[in-house]
Symmetry: D2
Subunit: 466 residues, 4 copies
Amino acid sequence: MTKCEDTPGEKCAVFGIRSAAEEVFDSIYYGLYALQHRGQESAGIATFSDNKIILYKNMGLVSDVFSDHLKNDRRLPGRSGIGHVRYSTCGSPGIENAQPMVINYSGGSFAIAHNGDLVNDDELRAILERKGSVFTTTSDTEIIAQLIVKEHLRTGDFIEGIKSAMNYLRGSYSIVILKEDRIIAVRDPWGFRPLVYGRSDKAVAVASETCALDSLGMQTVRDVKPSEILVIGDTVESHYGRKDEVHHCMFEYVYFARPDSIVNEIPVYEVRRNLGRILALEAPVEADLVVAVPDSGITAAIGYSQESKIPYGEGLMKNRYHGRTFIMPGQKQRELGVKVKLNVIKSEVLGKKIVLIDDSIVRGTTIKRLVKLLKDQGAAEVHVRISCPPIRHPCHYGIDMQSYDQFIAQKKEVKEIEKQIGADSLAYISLEGLVHAIGLPEEKLCLACLNGNYPIKEEQTKLSDI
Amino acid sequence: MTKCEDTPGEKCAVFGIRSAAEEVFDSIYYGLYALQHRGQESAGIATFSDNKIILYKNMGLVSDVFSDHLKNDRRLPGRSGIGHVRYSTCGSPGIENAQPMVINYSGGSFAIAHNGDLVNDDELRAILERKGSVFTTTSDTEIIAQLIVKEHLRTGDFIEGIKSAMNYLRGSYSIVILKEDRIIAVRDPWGFRPLVYGRSDKAVAVASETCALDSLGMQTVRDVKPSEILVIGDTVESHYGRKDEVHHCMFEYVYFARPDSIVNEIPVYEVRRNLGRILALEAPVEADLVVAVPDSGITAAIGYSQESKIPYGEGLMKNRYHGRTFIMPGQKQRELGVKVKLNVIKSEVLGKKIVLIDDSIVRGTTIKRLVKLLKDQGAAEVHVRISCPPIRHPCHYGIDMQSYDQFIAQKKEVKEIEKQIGADSLAYISLEGLVHAIGLPEEKLCLACLNGNYPIKEEQTKLSDI
Amino acid sequence: MTKCEDTPGEKCAVFGIRSAAEEVFDSIYYGLYALQHRGQESAGIATFSDNKIILYKNMGLVSDVFSDHLKNDRRLPGRSGIGHVRYSTCGSPGIENAQPMVINYSGGSFAIAHNGDLVNDDELRAILERKGSVFTTTSDTEIIAQLIVKEHLRTGDFIEGIKSAMNYLRGSYSIVILKEDRIIAVRDPWGFRPLVYGRSDKAVAVASETCALDSLGMQTVRDVKPSEILVIGDTVESHYGRKDEVHHCMFEYVYFARPDSIVNEIPVYEVRRNLGRILALEAPVEADLVVAVPDSGITAAIGYSQESKIPYGEGLMKNRYHGRTFIMPGQKQRELGVKVKLNVIKSEVLGKKIVLIDDSIVRGTTIKRLVKLLKDQGAAEVHVRISCPPIRHPCHYGIDMQSYDQFIAQKKEVKEIEKQIGADSLAYISLEGLVHAIGLPEEKLCLACLNGNYPIKEEQTKLSDI
Amino acid sequence: MTKCEDTPGEKCAVFGIRSAAEEVFDSIYYGLYALQHRGQESAGIATFSDNKIILYKNMGLVSDVFSDHLKNDRRLPGRSGIGHVRYSTCGSPGIENAQPMVINYSGGSFAIAHNGDLVNDDELRAILERKGSVFTTTSDTEIIAQLIVKEHLRTGDFIEGIKSAMNYLRGSYSIVILKEDRIIAVRDPWGFRPLVYGRSDKAVAVASETCALDSLGMQTVRDVKPSEILVIGDTVESHYGRKDEVHHCMFEYVYFARPDSIVNEIPVYEVRRNLGRILALEAPVEADLVVAVPDSGITAAIGYSQESKIPYGEGLMKNRYHGRTFIMPGQKQRELGVKVKLNVIKSEVLGKKIVLIDDSIVRGTTIKRLVKLLKDQGAAEVHVRISCPPIRHPCHYGIDMQSYDQFIAQKKEVKEIEKQIGADSLAYISLEGLVHAIGLPEEKLCLACLNGNYPIKEEQTKLSDI
């Protein structure tokens, strides 16, 4: 499912590594490659070598952006560095917003990469501009950087500056900073976005998800904690900024994070299977086969099958051979769309009552086509089960708003949607079921997009001044 | 798993379509896109319009080769046409061997595309050369084309020419020909490679696999039968060439065909699940979890789970974001290789006894790394089960030989391999189990790579003369 | 000036080299690069190594097609080889017509590359097809190759086969063949297209123009003579096929060949300067400045200046920075066209009477805009002088017909054209002047496009049989 | 001659246009295309539409960067806009330094593009950083922008801010700014780099050179004057900042500017021809032919010929077909280098005494090879004449230093160089001759790289504070 169509998207992933023994370019490259699912629009790496920061970034996948560096052995030198991949939003993004960003000021230089979304960006930008700040991009990252600079200069200490800056930042941020040869990882007080820390015998690293550490053969040590400022130099030191109530984003578990990652000490795969299991308990149906919408619904479908004892089978097959320039059919052939990407395994669905599992319904057009496709191929019934409660409120903490506005559940009741998509029945998991599946206390989660209960109150975003 | 590394590869797919009502370029494009798994090296389309054949072919995926045609609406015109995708062999292939090939001679012109491999290509080429034929490529396709030309000229009839040519062809061939506005589909007497025929209310089509017909919303009518020459004009006529004993390739079921295709009237998905089920019966093991090597082992793993009642789970996660220019790590980081592409879901495998399912072992290096990876992440035991008997003999009928030479089972016994890959146990499905899973009589299958029993005897390839 | 617009184009250049001491890939690469002006559409190289022919060809400039070979040191191996660059015609050309072409038959294999155009291609093709030949391309090259094959097989000797084939070939052909490790160069009896032969202490080479030999630091030995078959093996042997009256193409001197080449022992640069000189004598005008249309008119303009004593100056400046994807302005801005590519040097033309020199007028639109441009910038008068007589007849021997049909002089008298392009006066060099400038006897030249006197009579192209 | 090899390079060109009647994207595109000789590394356009600035920039030639915009008609909207092309320096440049740059601050937004080089950049950056400025790039452009922001905020008026900022800027700067729908053009007090202003009946534009106005069919009005701030809104207003002694860069005339441009009211072409004429008077030699090193020496060679009455001829021919990925020969074939790019016209030079004209000698390797090449082809004598005095001092005002360090004349006397390059004689034009050729009073020129007399004294660059 293409971006800007039927899938919510999050902004970016970050990675940072420092080694006492080795060049780190290859590790950043493979670390970012493991995080590519969090952003396919641009990629960048900054390293520190010979007392200066070296930066390369461009539009494209990690492997395309850095293929020349590897082929011709023109790796960026240095034993510490950070990297970033960015999400392809639907607006025109622009190379000027690619990350990492390098900042030069009277306190020296640093490179910064950011995953998240500030709530009070307009306000902070206005205040900073009033105080004389000048912005060369439209990104939150530059706001954070300018605030850190300001507070560094005010307090006289870089780490104090970060700590102080955190007093003003409202929203989600998982940040890696390259300051001289140190890596500094910062996570917002609410812990919205994931950020983990790991090590091998040769290096210490931070990453948006554990899968990046795994792919390098590194051991995950622990999460970077909400409010924490982790400073990775010759030693690893822990500082803390302003604290607040922790609210981890539930959608990392439901959709965004890779299933092989462990987010906030909870394995994503376990949560997704639990979602399927609980969905089977909450919304049982007499059926012959559990089928997933690949790839997003697979793990929940396995869970649903295990709990319901209804066999799991691959009823839909995905074509994986998109070229760089795959073009979807024109007006006239739009109806081919789904068939070109997904095909039914007829022998598996013929005459059967199907439970079809996915993680979300956005506009409803794709699931409607899939229901029809399954029925056209002989499915007796199609019961749709969604492993996330209806999304009815916009996210302010890092989920792409453009697609979210299109969520059908913001405007329609479940019964209406059921009718619209042509399913024999439709059920979403309950909010309680979701919380239970994750296994964290409800108050530790951000469920704002489900219940409108935003962790950061509007009054909090009103800053008197900096 | 990359070609030339650990996966056997087959040569090509073909597609042909004729419509009374519509331009066919888009249908060929999407038909080939559905068949892309059978060849990613080059793509080509030939159509018939205004009394001549129009051809475009180039290196690359279908969507890349024809992106300009779609973007700028420079579609090849015509209501009948054929297409081809070619497999990326490890040798240097060359644009000059791309297909379809256009043939001009005193009998007119035709375009031809071919999937298969002749056994007596050297002999035929030598005979044809002795008789004055001149070859501009090194492909079997040109041999077939020249033979058809020769026999057409001799017999005075194109279809008779094909029929006569079939008397001399030994090996596998599923062919589509564009002769004026007719599509002619030919399948070898043994029925090695698949070829099917379908229709909608607007068009008639032939394709290497049913999934191509499905993706266009067309109904599969039936297989093109072994020895059959199907002529698609204003009507669809059936002719037959030389007959022989039918021997369908078993490896289409085990690995090559898309699981949503129906090959020789047998659903591939069913066979793969049966393979898993029978494997569970033949080689049971006390275990906690059935895990597949993605994507090739998934369906058999589901079958193994269903039969054994051991839960199926995703223990290995695949990274799907290869860019166009993905470069594998250098010497020093070769060991990262598998981790970069596959990661273990630790929570799922920790402390568990694992049954790991794949469809084949080539050199054994990948499965060895996966066993180690699973154990490193805490798997208590890893039992490897292979859903195809050991491959011990070269294929002469369309499977890439280069990689097959490397099949570990050609040289080693199962126990040796078990030890080498570090598995707690290793079992292959039996030949009987395989046959049973497919559901065709053993004598209807080609099992030569398993038992050395080649359907085409050497003496048959000795032609006295043409 | 873009192809298909205002410039006649010729088909291709060939190059061949054999060394006793060195790999030849780099030499072929640079040789073709020196000949790039003769064809920018596709490039190909075939070498002989380890008893077989190795071929690589693709669409694009030499430097683009072979950049990977050089960057990654994957040069084609071998001490003998041939190469080809092809002209970008306006029709859809197709990778399948790229050269060299490799031919396999009972007499072995050879690679062939061709520059020229057959007159009796349709007839030869028909005869060969009647005799059983099968063609996989639409190129003259394949006709020549099939004829050589036929005659080789008939006579039992390859060189005899070429000699015999020459009896049937009507039209222009400068050919290089790679047969085992020998290079064979063949030039048609009329000597239409150039072909030269050179050597260094390490290698012997043939090329379409001497500039290719120069760029490799090789000495030009002499022309390959009309009717000659030059066989470059351990020794260099000379054979001769059917003889006819020599008629060298005059347009090589006027436009096609590089000015630093020596064609038929006559320096192209000398001819072009002579053309200018004679034009000054034939069509004098009282003026202040001689200006060339860059780049094609420069040398003649220098000659005109030298003879007339009117100073030569650069009144028009060309923008050389076309990117790969330069797009000309749309409808509305079409008038910008010429200005974007050529700008007037105002200070040089202001108030002056200008003689504007070019080598030809095709449709007349470009020269009309240039005259206007010069006048708009203050030129008092603009007198156009063309260093080639009016082209009034199509070329059958290698010049692209598509653009030639558009030659304004085929339909209009000089006075009409003068008026249409807005020049104060217009004169073409006379046919006698042209002949004099070249310095060869008129009967040794092909002037068919000027006077309709075709060296190959129609009756000659009627072959009884082969 | 490739950058980083034997040619000095300057940084960038700017273009700006405002129309009351039309969209300006196409005009900026063609304007930049006309200025492409001043920078081939990156290109960018910023327009103002719907109350915001729209920016697109990327690495590559103008025609490549914006091909998609033209092909798919996704032109940036707006009736006012600016553009920039950047020079390819030898260091690693980075997309983050591409221009225009967009600046956001409490005073609003503007886009800025810059051609030039500040002398006191380090000092300004340090002062600004001390005052709290934060830099996200390493470019002078950002320093200028931040200073303007600061002074705008201090004075309360944007134009006053620019005026005030000019008090602190030392070095060369020709700037275009897009502030809302106005274009503001600023030129440094010394007038180092060119900047002109023109109009048509539909638009007003500024450009680095007049050739850009010509290519759009616009009339040049006049130079933007040193110290001038030209504000192009509904009317065109002229303001002035700090004044200083005017010193126009002499090298624009000698090498950088396009010969069809008029720089500081003096036609570049005239100057170059004068240089040749004066060189002929200052350093006469008895010879048979004047030959230019193409393309840089052509105009001076024509002048030399006109004055000396020695005929001008093309003795050297340049190959213009570099592909995107042209690769120069390896170690072993390095000597081929010059021959591959330049070939001698033997017939023209054989037995002749040659005067070889170029505009500069950098390392001396290229001219040495050319002298040898000419002699190898039979030139009797080769007398080298250089149309610029020896460059012995680094440029601080916009010429690339990397290559300048290599100027052979910084270390060697003329006689030594003459010997080293193997010329029969070598002469440079005198400084007086150069000044005379330009026709401006010596005190109006910057000749620092020739005589070490820098217009901006070091004490001037010491700012007490801002």
